[in-house]
């Protein structure tokens, strides 16, 4: 009996909109500006690499914009499905460790027990030249 009801329902909605438009919905979609691209690349430390990647982001944003249609007044955000339970915390006792050697083995660049990172200054090269010449003068 339920099958008939479902089937009728399908026939009624058939010919209606298809589920997933592959073109970005122009309404409400944000154009991805050059500024935004730079900002995201800086934050993510991942580059877009191509215009296709930017287009993909625009599609992703347009897709996400469909959430606006949902009425979420008075609804609390859900962070975890286990929100009603207490998170388990171990007692603060050392039970394992002393595996520095093992862990260091996986790194490409180590010195003694240090992971080696390049200097953290992301300055334009002209600033480097300036500070070098100042140092030489001293």
């Amino acid at each position: 009996m339920w099958t008939r009801a479902l089937w009728l329902g399908l026939r009624a909605s058939a010919g209606g909109r298809r589920g997933f438009p592959s073109k970005a919905d122009p309404q409400g979609s944000r154009r991805v500006t050059a500024e935004l691209i730079e900002h995201l690349e800086r934050l993510a430390l991942v580059d877009f690499g191509s215009q296709e990647a930017v287009a993909r982001l625009e599609k992703a944003i347009a897709f996400a914009d469909r959430l606006r249609a949902v009425d979420t007044d008075g609804v609390e955000p859900m962070e975890s499905v286990l929100e009603d339970r207490c998170l388990y915390l171990r007692s603060d006792n050392v039970v394992e460790g002393n595996c520095a050697e093992e862990l260091l083995q996986n790194s490409h660049r180590v010195v003694e027990e240090y992971f080696v990172a390049p200097p953290g200054m992301c300055c334009p090269t002209w600033l480097n030249r300036l500070s070098h010449s100042k140092l030489r003068m001293q």
Binding site: L45, A64, L67, V81, N106
Partner: protein, 526 residues
């Protein structure tokens, strides 16, 4: 022997009808024969044979560790395995050898299981086809099955058969193919949006996603912390229950595992169907659903009804938004989880050392493929200060509505929901790659991702072959932490539908000379 259930093989091992080493050898030779499937990234031959030796000693003494002792298993390559390369099918982790075992891997090894190898996947488990990893795509064993090939001969267009192979679905395609092709009895996958159930349906095997919090994620390289679950792929529901019984339980190393005590369980046979209420979510009947899957879904519902169960239509009103919600939450969590890959402590590192940021950026450009980078960038967009409320928090609110939909349905007396797993049977690779990864994921994860957002258990059970001779599976969704009840219903269904065994003789025969040589070598060992 390889077509038997876990319990049957375990009995045979106990009685000495077969030894763990023989089982191991057979599976290893099958892995070689089915190399064309590209299901495995790493085959741990030496380790497996050593484990088999240990297992044999135990059986000789009558001290087997349990149902899994001496049983070949495979593990998806995003689970950490001590001493065995773990790549996530990505350049970022190529050559990475973890110094520890994931908890679920350790549990399998503690039970005496033989680790055959690490299976192929989409890069970092992002995708629904197992086509986007650096080791190449996984081919669906059914592409080479007698059932499929016979149907194709009937309507052959003279195409090159070898280029018309089908995808396995994803992202745990390697695990599904490994189980489907009899190279192991059980395989671990991961399930974030359907990554275990999708390939299970396409490869004609059982794919179980346990309740979130039941199985430890320690050692599973994370994608979405609030949705990831280790998945189990087997050839029958009973086997999945055995494996779940071993893997479930609190892990002090994963604080998101529940502390309730969990015991291994056996599945009873369902006799009184009148107490069972099956729900059919009407919103899952979408225009994109293939008519064959729809008719099988109908048939299944009728089957339950005719045996006395109550079958009712239910509503999950926010279904049409769940894929969008999943997309936002998934990319946001991915953006965060992928931040750990900077080349310093492990994984790939670029050659230039100009500055930290430049090094990180180059390393990540070289290490990640377009799909991963795309998701990281999208996620970072949604997490921007100006977007946080409107996208991320909004999606979290919608997530609550979706989870609430399920709670309401289960509170109204429904025990288990019955839905399709996929929109259609497996498609040819050439067709699949016409759309990009994100579009495909959005389409293929339709029926499966809502379950991850609500943290519910779900299982895909193969039902029947399509008119093209390809498997179609249906999904059962249960209440949170009622995995046993879910599997009981699934087991009953499996028995009713009697899904046919895949006939892969053609693929095996192609390399029969290899097998002959191995038989001789093995015989000379005795």
């Amino acid at each position: 022997m390889l077509g038997r259930t876990l319990r049957e093989v375990s009995e045979a091992l106990k009685q000495g009808l077969v030894t763990p080493t023989e089982l191991c050898q057979r599976c290893l030779s099958l892995i070689k024969k089915t190399k064309i499937l590209n299901a495995y990234i790493t085959v741990s031959e030496e380790a497996a044979l050593k484990q088999a030796e240990e297992s044999e000693k135990r059986y000789k003494k009558g001290q087997s560790l349990g149902d899994l002792d001496g049983i070949p298993v495979a593990v998806k390559d995003n689970f950490s395995t001590a001493g065995i390369e773990t790549t996530c099918a990505s350049n970022m982790l190529k050559g990475y050898v973890p110094p520890y075992n994931a908890t679920v891997v350790q549990k399998l090894l503690d039970q005496g299981a033989l680790l055959m190898g690490k299976t192929n996947l989409d890069e970092f488990a992002m995708g629904s086809g197992s086509t986007d990893g650096i080791f190449g795509p996984v081919k669906n064993p059914w592409s080479y099955s007698k059932q499929y090939r016979e149907k194709r001969k009937q309507k052959s267009h003279g195409e090159n058969e070898n280029s018309h192979w089908l995808i396995t679905g994803g992202s745990s395609g390697g695990s599904a193919a490994a189980v489907s092709a009899f190279t192991c009895f059980a395989a671990l996958g991961s399930d974030t949006g359907g990554s275990t159930r999708n390939p299970a349906a396409h490869c004609g095997v059982v794919g179980l996603k346990p309740s979130y919090g039941l199985v430890s994620r320690h050692g599973l390289i994370p994608l979405v912390n609030s949705m990831d679950v280790p998945g189990i792929l087997t050839r029958c529901v009973d086997d999945a229950a055995i494996v779940l019984g071993i893997l479930a339980g609190h892990d002090p190393k994963d604080s998101t595992t529940i502390q309730d005590p969990v015991k291994p369980f056996t599945l009873p046979s369902l006799t009184d169907m009148s107490k069972l209420c099956i729900g059919i979510p009407k919103e899952y009947l979408t225009p994109e659903l293939s008519s064959e899957v729809q008719s099988l879904w109908s048939k299944a519902a009728n089957l339950f009804e005719s045996e006395g169960a109550k079958v009712i239509e239910v509503s999950l009103p926010h279904t049409s938004y769940s894929i969008v919600c999943y997309h936002v939450l998934c990319t946001s969590e991915v953006a965060s989880n992928m931040a750990r890959f900077d080349g310093l402590e492990y994984g790939h590192r670029c050659d230039t050392d100009v500055s930290t940021e430049a090094m990180y950026a180059a390393t990540r450009r070289e290490g990640f493929n377009d799909v991963v980078r795309g998701r990281i960038l999208s996620g970072n967009f949604f997490l921007l200060k100006e977007n946080y409320e409107n996208y991320f928090v909004k999606a979290q609110k919608v997530r609550r509505l979706i989870a609430r939909d399920f709670v309401n349905v289960f509170n109204s007396g429904v025990d288990v929901l019955l839905t399709p797993t996929t929109l259609s049977e497996a498609v040819p690779h050439t067709e699949f790659i016409r759309e990009d990864n994100r579009t495909r994921s959005a389409q293929d994860d339709l029926f499966t991702q809502a379950v991850n957002m609500a943290g519910l258990p779900a299982v895909s059970v193969p039902m029947a072959l399509s008119s093209q001779g390809l498997p179609i599976g249906l999904q059962f969704i249960g209440r949170a932490f009622c995995d046993q009840q879910l599997l009981t219903v699934a087991k009953w269904f499996e028995k009713q539908v009697q899904f046919p065994v895949i006939q892969l003789q053609e693929l095996m025969d192609d390399c029969s000379s290899v097998f002959e040589n191995e038989k001789l070598a093995f015989a000379s060992l005795k």
